[in-house]
């Protein structure tokens, strides 16, 4: 007799914990063939606000950590993911070979971004030769709390948008891919066991059209990555809402996640601080 498996309850990931939606709602997630996979939590506006609160709370510690420390933690996420390679390949459900390649690419992307933590300031900062007796230096600093609407690719896509946001010291609230959220929540289990402080990454599952505008209009969110918004009207509405407190916006896009990511996803959510001091004896 075959053994009946113990299924996992897929919940949200907020402040390092795994709560259900406060709304008590869920929605059905199916395989591409239409088979039932799970009832995922359907996050509410209140969940989104709780996630922003958690991200804000985590910001001073994470942005104040040394770049070396942040790099080590991103590398640790890659290590944990490597250990669960098979599990993710299976959960992606895209065919074994393609799935394994996607998991490997995700791990490699994390390693790539991990190395940027203590190099981006050297590449994106400047020493400024001003015409006067002054020390003058510009360095990048994280923008703050960034809301991310993740693309449909729930693993490589999600890490490709989240890693560049957090490696520089931002914290984030992520709306996971609506139809394929399960690998993203399983990824939260990896994040939770990688020394990543609670609240640095918060993951919501649910309806993009319901959650994204709240986050776009939230006064304590500083940046908005709309990469995963496929609907043009929703993207426009979110960009307009983002003007309320002048959020830095990365517009909706279709990306080739196999391509070289470049620096744009990091630099869009970086501020430049320039410090002056007179020279003298």
């Amino acid at each position: 007799m075959s053994r009946l498996s113990v299924r996992k309850t897929y919940k949200l990931f907020i402040g390092g914990k795994f709560p259900r939606s406060e709304s008590g709602r869920s929605y059905t997630v199916t395989s591409p063939k239409g088979d039932f996979l799970a009832n995922a939590s359907r996050a509410s506006r209140k969940d989104a606000r709780d996630a922003v609160t958690a991200a804000r709370k985590a910001f001073p510690g994470w942005s104040g950590a040394t770049a070396y420390n942040r790099g080590q933690i991103l590398y640790r996420i890659a290590e944990m993911l490597e250990g669960r390679r098979g599990q993710f390949a299976e959960e992606l459900g895209t065919g074994k070979k393609a799935a394994l390649e996607a998991v490997d690419a995700t791990i490699d992307r994390l390693v790539w971004y991990a190395g940027w933590s203590d190099k981006i300031a050297s590449v994106h900062g400047t020493a400024n030769p001003v015409a006067g007796p002054y020390f003058n230096l510009s360095s990048p600093e994280p923008t703050g709390v960034v809301a991310v609407v993740a693309p449909a690719d729930p693993l490589l896509g999600l890490i490709s948008v989240v890693a560049p946001v957090i490696v520089t010291g931002n914290t984030c609230v992520v709306v996971a891919a609506e139809r394929t959220p399960l690998p993203s929540i399983t990824l939260a289990e990896v994040l939770a066991t990688s020394d990543l402080p609670g609240g640095v990454v918060n993951i919501l599952t649910g309806h993009q059209a319901e959650l994204a505008p709240w986050l776009a209009a939230h006064m304590d969110v500083n940046g908005l990555d709309l990469t995963g918004v496929a609907d043009a009207d929703l993207a426009l509405r979110c960009e307009q809402e983002a003007a309320v407190n002048l959020k830095r916006v990365l517009p909706a896009s279709t990306d080739d996640w196999a391509a070289d990511p470049g620096l744009k996803r990091m630099t869009r959510f970086l501020e430049t601080k320039t410090v002056w001091h007179p020279l003298g004896v």
């Binding site: 994106h124 030769p129 006067g132 510009s138 003007a243 830095r248 320039t274």
Partner: protein
């Protein structure tokens, strides 16, 4: 302290050849505008300086078309050739420096000492700096051959009319873009003189277009479908409207908006230097400065000593004729701005703060406001939260560095901040903690073309100046 008597030392205005009326500058020609013309006045005397054309949306369209037509040629030039045009412009600005300074002071009301020694030299330096980038863009870290964006629509404020023009036009042209620029309606004259400089430099027609007018003209520039890049300096309120307008269009946007900077003085600061820094921070350019140090945060232990030194210093400031070379404080730029400063200052009193100004005679005509200090200001007071954009300083106190950081960051703005202390490690710790784009330690209100300028949070996004200032005008 008794005020020294000074003989008047007026700068001659003969060097400026004011025309009775001015048109728009489109495709290298001065043309009439189809909107109703408006008057620009000398805020120090209320005399009308000239009539200026209003660009209608059709005029703006013509300007954008001219810029579009010029784009291929301009962006296709070798960088070294573009550089030489910009060097030419920089040199002509130096050659005509005094004329520009006098005209700026006439139209804006700022003291000639500032327009002559700060604004105009920085304008020339800005063009000189970005000229040198035009043939070196491949070394700036944006790839081997970064491309320009196309037509840039630029809207600038009245507080530093020509300097803001330079901050917008110099990097745009260096990167290969063409521009349509709208100066503020109360200060259009130096931009129109700049148009003449473009002609002297034989800049190809359409590369620079100047359209004058009020908010509607600016809105037409921002909303024009054939504009690829929008750059705005001005209020956060208008910045929000522009961000909403530009949303979803794919236009690249940079915004340099308001501020409510904290100028933080610790008990170990060099007091006389700090007093000079505070004065420069809030009374420079009549406080019409987005990065002005409008909130003084003073450590409680030295509050009395610092305030009495500051008041003594304010007693020596000279307010009056902007063209007098001894003048420290000029005229408020417009009646509208004066009304706003008065309204917020009255609110400061009615909310319970204590108001102080030195004995100061205001001229009978023109728009004037005396240097003003408010003490006993709470963080909740509107004069501690809102940008006054005038010579008004709100004084708050703190006990610990952590409290200073907390109060300094307690604002939706994040443009600049000042730190005064003799302790190096404290400077660097404070600089690290403050959420602002420019930190002046033991100095204030310093500007340089090589140094990136711009804000955090609701002070806007993007940087102007330095290598990072190129990013705003490249397709990267």
């Amino acid at each position: 302290m008794a005020m020294f008597e000074y003989a008047p030392a007026p700068e001659s205005r003969d060097i400026v050849d004011l025309k009775p009326s001015y048109g728009l500058f489109i495709n290298g020609e001065f043309v009439d505008g189809s909107g109703p013309s408006f008057k620009t006045v000398n805020p120090a005397t209320e005399e009308t300086l000239a009539e200026v054309a209003t660009a209608s949306s059709d005029d703006v369209d013509r300007a954008v078309q001219a810029a579009r037509k010029a784009f291929d040629g301009w962006s296709g030039l070798p960088g070294a050739e573009r550089a030489k045009y910009l060097f030419r412009v920089a040199r002509i600005i130096q050659e005509r420096a005094r004329e520009l300074a006098v005209l700026e002071s006439l139209d804006n009301g700022k003291p000639i000492r500032e327009s002559r020694d700060v604004d105009v030299p920085l304008v020339a330096a800005h063009f000189f700096y970005y000229a040198g980038w035009a043939d070196k863009l491949g070394y700036a870290g944006f790839g081997a051959d970064p491309r320009p964006l196309g037509v840039a629509g630029q809207v600038i404020p009245w507080n530093f009319p020509l300097l803001m023009l330079a901050w917008k036009i110099a990097p745009a042209l260096a990167c290969g873009n063409t521009v349509v620029l709208k100066p503020a309606e109360t200060t259009p004259l130096t931009a129109l003189l700049f148009a003449e400089i473009c002609r002297q430099a034989e800049l190809p027609p359409g590369v620079v277009n100047i359209v004058t007018g009020a908010g509607e003209t600016g809105a037409a520039v921002v909303a024009h479908p054939d504009v690829n890049k929008v750059a705005f300096t001005g209020s956060t309120e208008v910045g929000r409207v522009i961000a909403r307008t530009v949303a979803g269009t794919g236009k690249k946007l940079t915004l340099e908006l308001g501020g409510k900077a904290a100028n933080i003085v610790f008990e170990d600061a060099a007091l006389d230097q700090a007093v000079e820094g505070i004065v420069n921070g809030i009374f420079f350019n009549q406080g019409h400065v987005c990065c002005a140090g409008s909130r003084l945060l003073v450590q409680e232990s030295i509050q009395d000593e610092l305030l009495s030194a500051l008041k003594r210093r304010l007693g020596t400031l000279r307010l009056g004729d902007p063209l007098d070379k001894n003048t420290d404080i000029g005229a408020i730029n417009s009646a509208e701005q004066l009304a706003k400063i008065r309204q917020l200052s009255d609110l400061g009193e009615s909310e319970g703060a204590e108001r102080w100004s030195p004995a100061c005679e205001l001229p009978d005509r023109g728009y004037w406001f005396p240097p003003t200090i408010f003490t006993g200001v709470a963080q909740s007071h509107r004069i501690a939260r809102e940008e006054i954009f005038g010579p008004v300083l709100s004084v708050l106190t703190f006990r610990t560095p952590a409290e200073a950081v907390e109060k300094a960051n307690n604002t939706p703005y994040g443009l600049s901040a000042g730190i005064w202390t003799e302790k190096g490690s404290r400077i660097l710790w404070m600089a690290d903690q403050l959420r602002a784009g420019v930190i002046w330690a033991n100095t204030f209100n310093r500007f340089d073309p090589a140094s990136p300028f711009g804000g955090y949070k609701e002070s806007g996004y993007g940087r102007e100046g330095g290598l990072l200032g190129l990013e705003a005008y490249l397709d990267v």
